[in-house]
């Protein structure tokens, strides 16, 4: 096979012009170009790099409606959602431009020399973060813009000073090609070497494997399935020089319905839950797949309104035939489980559509069978009824790492919430109160990450400005002459508005 084509998600039929199926030699060429571009790119000034990130956003906007139309056709997602996602994609490029200018990500540190110190003088020591090298990015099918070719991984790697080689997602090649074209236009417009950004395409796993194994690649960003993320992680660990893999893989995002909140608004919570569950056909990493509730007032009302909502839910086109198949299989496993009761199903998903399902089980059954904690990617929820706070706590302790946990709570629930919070902190990257986990803000205090297996590396986030840290490493300079030191560490850069840790104390910027 030397070519492949876009698929119209709604019909499953191919459309448009073919795209090249790249091979190992294309991977090698892209990685060589990235390596060649690295020294030039990482030496750009903060202002030049920020302007480039902004230009990337402008070029994406300049693609106009063709981008939205192709993304709609390839993903089956509606126009409003994709227009919003484009805004988010451009917004995060702008946020990283702002971050690059502010400079705290460089983590500058200066320990001035103490020539008179006894018994030994202290040398002059200065530290900064430098980019790790070329980064491989694997986009996600469910966010054809914000987590794909020019998504958060790409934006944060470029912000750090790393050239990027994207493995374009085969579920949206037309969208990916358009965005890659915009990125390359921005590279050219800013006078940067071509290798700062490239994209390879093709439907095979071998292509991605070759990319991760290329010795010039220094780190990997990935969003997708657990099987896919773990496969790349193993390849990266087996290299002669192992490299970090930041894989965002799977999560069932427990939602805890605390007693006072349930009592006060069980019915309303049920309706709102179905809204979050069915958004985007449930195809979100942060989809609320697991509900934990204590038996008591309001739980019946919650179940009644959630059941009603699920029954009324309309089928929605899913991203790919493979995702739909996995969804149906996952739902079937719950429906046929001896300890699981089907509370409601929506209109059945025919053709390329998925449906909506809500199940319930007991805490005892959930604890007895780890399969009940499997992620079903799509609109499927499982309510676990707990008979005591201790049972709820045991259940939380038994959970795998997750991206999020949500507390629905009132003032009267605070003592219970205070018991749960330390447990939840050890299991998840983000804890929400009285909201829904879908809808991830791109900002500075966001964590879209979490302990294994939510991600392969729980020390980081893939959304928000902290994501830049993934692609940096520290270097210390001892007694280097001012003229040889990197510019941001020179004495004459003090007072340029960049935050620094000076002799152990944080000095803020402008």
């Amino acid at each position: 096979m030397t070519e492949f084509r876009s698929i119209t998600a709604e019909t499953g039929a191919p459309y448009g012009d073919p795209f090249p199926v790249h091979g190992p030699q294309d991977v090698a060429a892209a990685c060589a170009a990235a390596e060649d571009a690295f020294e030039t790119y990482r030496a750009t000034s903060r202002e030049a790099r920020a302007a480039f990130l902004e230009r990337c956003g402008e070029e994406i906007i300049a693609l106009g409606d063709a981008l939205i139309e192709n993304a709609m056709r390839e993903s089956g997602l509606p126009r409003a959602r994709l227009e919003g996602e484009r805004g988010r994609t451009v917004g995060q490029l702008r946020m990283f431009a702002d971050v690059v200018r502010k400079g705290w990500w460089q983590q500058l540190r200066i320990d001035p020399a103490m020539p008179e110190r006894q018994p030994l003088p202290r040398p002059d020591l200065r530290l900064r973060m430098i980019p790790v090298g070329p980064v491989a990015v694997f986009g996600a099918s469910n966010f054809p813009l914000a987590f794909s070719t020019a998504g958060g991984d790409t934006a944060s790697a470029l912000a750090a000073g790393c050239p990027v080689v994207v493995k374009g997602h085969p579920a949206h090649p037309a969208t990916a090609a358009l965005v890659a074209q915009a990125m390359s236009a921005a590279v050219k417009a800013c006078g940067l070497p071509d290798g700062v950004f490239s994209q390879i395409t093709g439907p095979s796993h071998e292509l991605g494997a070759a990319l991760v194994q290329d010795p010039r690649i220094a780190a990997v960003g990935f969003t997708g399935s657990r099987a896919g993320g773990l496969a790349l992680l193993r390849l990266a660990q087996a290299r002669e020089v192992p490299i970090p893999v930041y894989a965002e893989m799977s999560s069932i995002n427990p939602v805890l319905l605390l007693p006072e909140a349930l009592k006060a608004r069980g019915g309303a919570l049920g309706t709102a839950f179905v809204g979050s569950l069915t958004m985007g056909a449930g195809q979100f990493c942060t989809n609320p797949g697991l509900l934990l509730a204590l038996e008591g007032d309001g739980l019946d009302a919650f179940v009644a309104s959630a059941t009603e909502g699920v029954k009324a839910a309309q089928p929605q086109t899913m991203l790919t035939a493979g995702i739909r198949e996995a969804y149906l299989k996952g739902v079937e496993a719950f429906a046929s489980h001896a300890e699981v009761e089907t509370l409601a199903t929506g209109a059945p998903g025919e053709g390329t559509c998925g449906g909506t399902s809500l199940f319930q089980t007991t805490a005892k059954a959930f604890l007895a069978d780890p399969n009940l904690a499997n992620e079903v990617f799509g609109a499927s929820g499982l309510l676990v009824r707990c008979t005591s706070e201790d049972e709820m706590i045991a259940l939380i302790r038994a959970l795998e790492g997750q991206l999020t946990a949500t507390l629905h709570m009132d003032t009267g629930d605070e003592p219970l919430a205070a018991r749960l919070l330390p447990l939840l902190e050890r299991k998840v990257g983000r804890i929400l109160a009285n909201g829904w986990p879908t809808g991830v803000e791109v900002s500075h205090a966001m964590v879209h990450g979490g302990p294994f297996p939510a991600t392969s590396d729980g020390r980081t986030t893939s959304v928000g400005s902290l994501a830049i840290d993934r692609f940096l490493r520290p270097v210390s300079y001892q007694n280097l002459a001012q003229s040889v030191l990197p510019e941001p560490l020179r004495d004459n850069a003090l007072g340029d508005g960049t935050p620094r840790i000076y002799d152990g104390a944080m000095l803020a910027g402008r």
Copy 2:
């Protein structure tokens, strides 16, 4: 075997009371105690945690001369060195106390809510770093105090809020037992749970393997051989829940003698080099094992004085019989290599002593045989003569990751240094000018780390205050009520002097 004993390094003979050989059940008990202590310990106030770290230092001082005497006997290192190392050990506990109080390591971030934002409101988001959980620490034989039971790994993990389980180094069990006794006294004096610190002892690798495999252990700190570090890394990666391993493994620490510096002071550099090479019998991670020089004025003077210095070097007791054996084998491999010339050897090391050796080869030979880049732990140096700047650059490109690189340079060397600096940044964690890599300052801008295989994780350092980051991970809190939020993130903590990133801008502390 249920017991083992200290060995007098100088004679190889056992001495003193026996120490227990712990087994899997002891590992499990220590890890269970650490896990039990975790919630209490991580909830301590910054002040309480800082006071505990200071108390650890005081209890180590209170051990008095017995500590120094045992460390001397077990390591063969001289009194002045070990007194200095004790000062460093206590000093780094104090530095981390200061860091804990200052609070920037929490990386507090606040994105205030924007309820009026269009098209969607922004939630209130707050982020902090939390400790990862119980940490396993493997001490090094060559720093029985500063890199061992209460060394940098232990101090940084405790500062982060992680209980520590140390695998005491079998080369200095008496020293380790005394320090562990001091640590436990500090735990008790500060009213903390016993499990905040424990130590298991025994000579087998299985013990360490069991520790890394215990599901309650969340991260590993290690200083030692490449084989040892890689073995632990593989075990950690193969766990059901993989965990980070921070192993500081091997380095030959290239020293670059640039032409103008050589011309100006070739002879003096040779003398100073031998001083660094032979310090502590060469048993430093930062020992300068590799010299790179351009043919030209001053190189002969360097070789002459270095040769003279090596010939005059006296044998020194090595840490263990195993280390001495490996040293002799490593030296023999160089001495018998067809492309390597032996420039000088010091007085031969008999009994428990190692000697000193200096070799030279050509850049061509070095590039042709990767074995010439092997670390020889002990006083052994290899001078590589380069015929051109390009050859020196090719050689740097071919190097594995290293802890340090050193430039000896004058003003006239700056153009060459500017060419070399970007290459060196990609290979090492610390770049020094006109000094020697031995002697690692414990401060804020220090990096004692570097790309693989200098360490297993080039994103970090094991010395200096940045080391605390290894044992932290971010958690984000969305729309939590003030009364439920962790205290440092509450509104009423603003202005408490802790640095924060507020809406993207760094606000400094006091």
